[in-house]
C-alpha cells in the first residue's frame, strides 16, 4: 500500500465526514425542538459569560461520540480494504473537531466568544478556518453560513440549496421561521 493511497483515503474521509457534519449542523439549526434540547446550549454558552471549561461534558460527548462512531466504521472499512488511511482520517477528524473547537473559543483566554470581536465570516470557497467557524458560534443566525469545519465551499453549496432545502427541514415542514426558533 502506497503512502499516497493512505493519504488519499484519510483526506477523503475528512472531507466526506465534514460534509455530513455541515449538513447535520444545518439541519439542527432548522429543527427548533432538537436545537432547544441539544445544540442550542453550545451557542448559549459562548454568547454569555464563560461558565466553565471551553468544552463541557455535553460537547465532549457529542463531538467525541460522533468521531468515535466514524472511527469504528472506518476501522471496518480499513480492515476490508487493507488501507489504514480511512481509520487514520477518522482519528484525524476527532483531533480536528476537538482542537478546532477548543482553539476557536480561545480555551486559554477569559474573554467570551461574543466579546472577542471576531470579523464576520466572509463568503469564501477556501478552507474553513477556526475563526470562520467561530463567527457562526457567536452569530448562529447570520445569513452567511459557516457550518463547515474543513471546506467553506460546503456552506456556499448549502446557501445555494437553502431556498429549496429549508422547505424539507423539520422547521420548514412545520412553517417555523428563525425568529420563532429562538423564542
Amino acid at each position: 500500500m502506497s503512502m499516497l493511497s493512505v493519504v488519499a483515503a484519510a483526506a477523503t474521509y475528512l472531507v466526506a465526514a465534514d460534509l455530513v457534519y455541515a449538513v447535520d449542523h444545518y439541519l439542527v439549526h432548522h429543527d427548533r425542538e432538537r436545537y432547544r434540547r441539544t445544540h442550542g446550549r453550545h451557542h448559549r454558552r459562548y454568547n454569555g459569560t464563560k461558565d466553565g471549561p471551553q468544552l463541557d461534558a455535553y460537547e465532549l460527548s457529542t463531538y467525541g461520540s460522533a468521531a468515535v462512531y466514524g472511527m469504528a466504521l472506518m476501522s471496518a472499512l480499513s480492515l476490508l480494504t487493507g488501507n489504514v488511511g480511512f481509520f487514520l482520517g477518522a482519528a484525524g477528524k476527532l483531533v480536528h473537531s476537538l482542537v478546532f473547537h477548543v482553539y476557536q473559543h480561545r480555551w486559554w483566554g477569559d474573554v467570551p466568544l461574543r466579546r472577542q470581536g471576531l470579523p464576520p465570516a466572509r463568503r469564501s470557497w477556501g478552507l474553513a478556518s477556526a475563526r470562520y467557524h467561530a463567527f457562526h458560534h457567536s452569530h448562529p443566525d447570520d445569513t452567511v453560513f459557516a457550518y463547515a469545519e474543513s471546506w467553506a465551499g460546503f456552506d456556499r453549496l448549502l446557501e445555494w440549496c437553502h431556498p429549496w432545502l429549508v422547505k424539507h427541514t423539520v422547521d420548514g415542514r412545520a412553517g417555523v421561521h428563525v425568529a420563532e426558533r429562538r423564542a
Binding site: Y58, S61, S65, Y69, A72, L73, S75, L79, T81
Partner: protein, 126 residues
C-alpha cells in the same frame, strides 16, 4: 449526547449474537463452508431480539461488530487463518467482499429494529 444509539440490552444481544455467529462461521469454515454473513445475521438478530426500541444509529456499530467478528473468526479457524487478522483484505475476492458487505448490512438493518410489536423509535440525543 451519545451518537451510538444502543443501550445495554441491545448491546448484550449483539454481543451474544456475535459469539453465536463466530461459532457458526468457524464451524462452517472448518467444513469448507464460507458464510461470513451468518455473523451479521446473528449480531443483528441478537440485538433485535433483546432491544426494547428501534434506533437507526445503533446499526452502524453493530455492522462494525459483525465485520470484526467475522475477520477475527477467519483469522483463527479455517483456510484463511494463515493470512491473519490484519491481512483480511488479501483473502477477499469480489464474492467474499459481497459476503462481508451483506454481513454488515444484515447486522445494521436487523440491529436497528426490535421484535417487540409497536416498539418506539428512539433518536440520538433522547
Amino acid at each position: 449526547m451519545n451518537w451510538f444509539g444502543f443501550d445495554a440490552r441491545s448491546l448484550a444481544g449483539a454481543l451474544v449474537g456475535a459469539l453465536v455467529g463466530a461459532l457458526l462461521f468457524g464451524w462452517g469454515l472448518s467444513r469448507g463452508l464460507d458464510l461470513p454473513w451468518v455473523v451479521g445475521l446473528a449480531v443483528g438478530g441478537g440485538a433485535m431480539a433483546l432491544a426494547r426500541d428501534r434506533n437507526t444509529m445503533r446499526g452502524g456499530p453493530f455492522a462494525v461488530l459483525a465485520v470484526w467478528t467475522g475477520a477475527l473468526t477467519q483469522a483463527l479457524v479455517g483456510p484463511f487463518a494463515e493470512a491473519g487478522l490484519w491481512h483480511l483484505s488479501s483473502t477477499l475476492d469480489a464474492k467474499r467482499v459481497g459476503y462481508y458487505v451483506t454481513s454488515a448490512l444484515l447486522a445494521a438493518a436487523l440491529g436497528a429494529r426490535s421484535i417487540r410489536r409497536g416498539a418506539a423509535r428512539r433518536v440520538a440525543g433522547t
